[in-house]
Amino acid sequence: MTTNDPFDSRPDPVLGARLRECLDAGDHAAFVARVRARLPRTGSQWETLATWARPGIAAALILAASLGYWVVLQETRTASVGQATEVASSDRPTDSDGLLAVVLGGAR
């Protein structure tokens, strides 16, 4: 039921229907078809790649850092073993401090 009280906080169905009719642009199906046709079809592939880019870069950085650490570790160990072998096989007398330094260096 329509009331003419502007303070009424309920929607007025008559006014609402008139406004709806007044502002109805019509042919919504054609409008929807136009919008759908312009939505990116293949864009989603790029967007999918883009969404993976950030975690992908982070994973690559972690992998590179791990690999770098491993390579450095291997080189250090190889060098320590080489030094130890050199000390052990040396004809020269070795002092205990020098031997300890080589052993501790290899353990680190």
């Binding site: 008559v14 406004l19 019509g26 999918t48």
Partner: protein
């Protein structure tokens, strides 16, 4: 599929799901852009811009909040942007819709006249009042929700609805008295 599921899929880049959302909300978005822009073609351009803008910013949408008011804000902004960018072609009178079957020439003329008056009355309202009364009367939004969509306090939204419906009812009342 529920709207929540469609939104979730659309946020993940599913254009079909977004298309379904366009279909569900086309009438609402076009009505809002039409309330800002009187020209029908401009309003449709703005409505399209609004949907593409929503598509581009879909990942920023907070699924915990309702979708329709978010879309409404985008639609209003798109219409305002277009209003600023373009010289509006002209304030086109909203065309009479087709008469219902069986209506007499007298009834059709009366309906056409009413639409013309209501259109003129709407055009005279400030933009915010137009939007407020459309959201209230046609879409059934509460004053608080209107405030959120329009970015104004609830009390202001209530006042805008009050003034707009008073003016529009006066137009409808004139029509009744003449009849």
């Amino acid at each position: 599929m529920t709207e929540g599921e469609l939104i979730e899929k659309a946020r993940g880049g599913d254009t079909e799901a977004f298309g379904a959302l366009v279909e569900a909300h086309a009438e609402f978005v076009r009505r809002l852009t039409r309330a800002v822009l009187h020209d029908r073609d401009d309003a449709d351009d703005a409505a399209q811009d609004a949907f593409f803008s929503a598509w581009r910013s879909r990942e920023r949408f907070d699924p915990a909040r309702p979708f329709k008011p978010w879309l409404g804000q985008i639609a209003i902004n798109a219409a305002r942007d277009l209003n600023r960018r373009r010289v509006i072609r002209r304030t086109e009178a909203i065309p009479d819709s087709l008469p219902g079957p069986g209506s007499t020439p007298a009834v059709r003329a009366e309906q056409a006249d009413l639409r013309k008056r209501l259109n003129a009355a709407l055009a005279e309202l400030p933009e915010r009042q137009r939007l407020a009364v459309v959201l209230f009367e046609v879409d059934g939004y509460a004053h608080a929700e209107i405030g959120i969509v329009l970015g104004i306090p609830e009390g202001t939204a209530r006042s805008e609805v009050f003034h707009a419906r008073r003016k529009l009812r006066a137009t409808l009342g004139e029509q009744k008295e003449e009849a």
